[in-house]
Symmetry: D2
């Protein structure tokens, strides 16, 4: 094995470069993965722009597909050469947060307690997946073997996009027969639409202005697409639902505008399930909130991780229930990742997701 | 309006006849429905055989599709001539059970308290739907307008079969990615399969020996069909799941054999959701129950009713998510209902469900 | 029976007077209650001040304890002379909202559909309880007989304060061992404290500056009282919880300040259960919300009503688990209700709740 | 540190002896605990009698209170000399079962998958706590520091009895205002009674014939005690509840008789929460089960473990909400453990729980 590797490294706001790093040492609970496929997330663009701060020198990326290169001395139940994924969020399994079923908020260096976003380590607090090799901490809780017959690209969305999108539907507690609105049909919104369909929503209203995304939304399960550039989405959703409003609204963009619209289309007693990463304070208009008396819920969810979550998502892919293959619109080698960032960051050429193959 | 009407009347075990009855008077909370389509349920066959006792002289049937003929003096929000259905189970809305969300166990003549199966009134404790007219009690809680564009036969399964089948999936708390087994693919089992698919099961294993039912099961969402006449279903399901067992097993027949097999295929921590109407004591084998230490759940559900439930089910039909049209294999006039009972009771000619058109 | 009655009537902002009205006619689903005890709610003060608009001429009040004077022609299961209460919120039982378990948002004149706050009718959209007689709509869903041995004042808090306070704990899904903060110990906050204790919170931190309320808070179950006039409550709660934060924070005042503090003391993954009636837009600070990635929930609840809810609350009172008797600090006849409004509205003389005895 | 230690060793049915064993080696994920206090469980008596099979030579016991003697090389976040407990059940944290929140059914040598009772390792599949030293596997998921100020005996019930008893209430989903019956007031039943009280049951009916246990039951929160040796408990509970039945019945003994009685006292829609360890097949009488149509649930729970569970239970003890100190009726040194087994196994001298102090 080589002693150094290529990696996409954050230098400063505006600058992620392809650099060289030592291949990491493997601690007793770790596993070293040779990355075969990874991707760039919207969050990485926030990092690139300096909107979400990480340390200079950090390897970016949190969506790994690869092969086990080396296992820590205390890791059992896996073998080298095994194809695996790990979630974007890597709960320790042994933190109090993990043991409470909330591993995404898993705290501290030692895994004790609770820390906001503490389970998000790859490309945030430790080196990430846009590299030739990735060190996976708490490997036994996080390495999920890829079922035979599934390709890298078929499972590439499981670590983050699919897990996050589905969680929007799950946290919204969608029930058979619900009417659901999903605001924005980027990769996460599309997966939220797929999740709403999977959970039995009778009617799904996708809000999106780009025709190619609207088309995929329909393939994912949307029954209506509301083009917010042509109509007021609140009015239109009220109209579609005969004034009743929706049972669950999923926010998948991260703006005041969509957050507020999602609140305004809820029926009394409805739930706003928020997935967006916001970058400023939010305002809850008094009337949209029924002065606090509307039996409404606002729920937020950080991408659920851990190997059991990944196993379940790959079962869904294997069953053919949901196909995320169509989300990969562009492919690059790791050597071209700066180009990939440029394309994805500027949303050029109808890009939805890129696949990076080191 | 006529003063008398035709009705399928239970006389004694072995004998349901087409007879004549007065058209019922309409009390203040009631509605009189002119039946346009109804059907025969497996439970009606239990009644016919004397296995489930009802009073001699009772009109049978609990699956009404029709048109409002007359509204009680205190009923508001509907109009005569409106096309409606009512659930097989008619919660009062005002009983303590109803107000607890358990209207199927809605008690007493006055709707207070709790009574086992108390919400099942049609063709059980009051005259039922296999007649030209049906008196619907507590009409405001139970009349559900049929959406434009849906035919009688499209909504005919909503009052019982679809509501019951879905409830098997719902009470089993199926989650995205679950593996589910459904024992028996009669009308209710088929709807349970559809419900499991709707709720996001990644893998559905249907147990059935009749090829035509197996085929519909696959159309409803089953990924595997296990023919219990050829293999041991417990062994086969264990094999399909790599020894892991299923997250949820739905029993849709009502026998010790299927109940026990459903228990034996559960993973530790799994749920047995029972829909069957049993006719003898059940036995829980010690080993299949992990001596009471397996974190298992056994849940039973009586068909949820009420107009909101019906509204939701018709939304699912309207969206095209589930098509129950294929379940209607035979059609009869009310005049021929005795023939229909004979065919359905003996399960002749590949019958799944019959439609009765008065 | 008299033809006219005394009633506390809203005339215009700043003016609620004791006036004369006809005793209402009883419709088929109604019941007429002779009020024996009622009270004034903080919401009534909002109405008095014109902060919450109601029609001029409306009788105010939504907390009735009384005796059945007359039953509607379709009402069964009760008898005249029976001692009863009704909840502040009167779900119809037959609306779609009611049948979904959300009767507080029960819609429309005819009980169909969903309407924000639609279940709150007394003293809001129909005449209320601060009168000699009260017409209770949908009586069968709303009249709850008072168990023998309980006095009027013992059950006086059930219709609103106790139901609302408990719902703060229930909607927060408090679990055994949770740490809970309750912001403000007015009547509702005190009942929320009692609810948190009832549901198994291991540690309850009450935020309050008035010593007499702090004392009752401790009697209701608080383990710590934080005096916000002396310390910063966010800092202090962080300190008490060793930096961990609380599992559930209950807001029981209705201000931006308390809403925001409640958000800031949550552990990652924690729930803000909001009971306050807000009078302006709310702001969610980005950092307090972990940019939308903290797995947090904000839930609001309007006082649950209906006879089953009332039955359960009176069971709690009857068991001695919670004693709300100490909340009644002052007593008035109906003739003196203007004085009572003056005292309560200005929070004079350490008033918590007044009892009005017509 | 010594090289050998004393331990209570199962030899063959009828024979547990105090023997000598090597002090175990500490693997990278383990911790070695010096036991300061432990106890004997009813399950240990099942083992002694040969009713529950374990390997000859195994050290018995699963309720450890002690001090960290040595930490595995990969264990972080603890220090030697720290006072800790571990649950009777030791989830790995990283198994699929653990990551699904069901660590009690945590599977396999390597922690993957699911295995019935797989989380129960101490004194079952690995050496247990009735010894001078105990090796705790997956220490970071299982070691829970004891809060300052709590004595060994105060926390001695947390590892099993309290966790199990509370789980009976939790799995029964007791809500504020429920009526609950608890069958048998042995140590687990008493803790179930305490749990029912903690979760807000309005009325708790304990079934017990021994006066001293009845007395503790009342101290733990029971409102009624039914002496099954004098009255038929089903009739009596029906009488106490005015024929309504209970919302939740907790079975805490493990016999057909109590299981069946628990089923018979349920209201329609009620839940039987079973904690007992059964030793023969169970029978569900058709009538007690409403032929499968009663919307009933039968749920079983194996003692929840893991450090977060232990932390929460110790918070309850620290708050003074529940006092399990009174359950310790006898004390022994480890040298006298054979005597302790004799006393406890024959339930002599009013024994509830013994404390063993090595």
């Amino acid at each position: 094995m080589a002693q150094t590797m290529k990696a996409a490294i954050f230098i400063e706001p505006g600058r992620i470069i392809l650099g060289e790093k030592p291949v990491p040492d493997v601690g007793p609970l770790d596993a070293l993965i040779r990355i075969t496929t990874t991707t760039i997330c919207g969050t990485d663009i926030h990092i690139l722009k300096g909107e979400y701060p990480v340390a200079s020198g950090l390897t970016i990326g949190h969506e790994p597909v690869g092969v086990i290169e080396k296992l820590g001395s205390a890791v059992q139940g896996y073998h080298e050469g095994q194809r695996v994924i790990a979630g974007a969020i890597t709960p320790s399994g042994y933190s109090n947060a993990s043991l409470s079923g909330c591993g995404a908020q898993c705290g501290g260096a030692h895994g004790h307690g609770w820390k906001p976003l503490g389970g998000w380590r790859f490309g945030n607090t430790i080196d990430g997946a846009q590299a030739e090799y990735l060190l996976v901490p708490d490997a036994m809780a996080n390495l999920a073997p890829i079922p035979d017959g599934l390709s890298d690209e078929q499972v590439l969305m499981c670590p983050d996009i699919l897990s996050t999108g589905f969680s929007g539907a799950e946290s919204g507690r969608i029930r058979i027969g619900d009417t659901v609105a999903v605001f924005a049909q980027g990769p996460i919104g599309l997966c939220a639409t797929a999740g709403a369909r999977l959970m039995g929503a009778a009617r799904i209203i996708a809000v999106e202005s780009l025709p190619e995304r609207a088309e995929i939304a329909c393939a994912m399960g949307a029954d209506h697409v509301v083009d917010f550039s042509k109509v007021d989405p609140v009015d239109e959703i009220r109209r579609i639902t005969d004034g009743r409003g929706v049972d669950v609204a999923i926010e998948a963009l991260g703006l005041q505008e969509t957050f507020e619209a999602a609140l305004r289309v809820l029926r009394p007693g409805g739930t706003l399930s928020s997935l967006g990463v916001y970058s400023s304070d939010l305002r809850i208009p008094l009337d949209a909130f029924s002065a606090g008396l509307g039996d409404n819920r606002i729920v937020t969810t950080l991408c659920p991780g851990g190997k059991e979550r990944m196993r379940r998502l790959m079962e869904i892919i294997a069953s053919g229930r949901v196909d995320t293959g169509s989300l990969v619109t562009h492919r690059f080698g790791l050597d071209d990742i700066e180009t990939a960032y440029d394309l994805f960051g500027h949303q050029r050429d109808g890009v939805l997701k890129v696949a990076i193959h080191p």
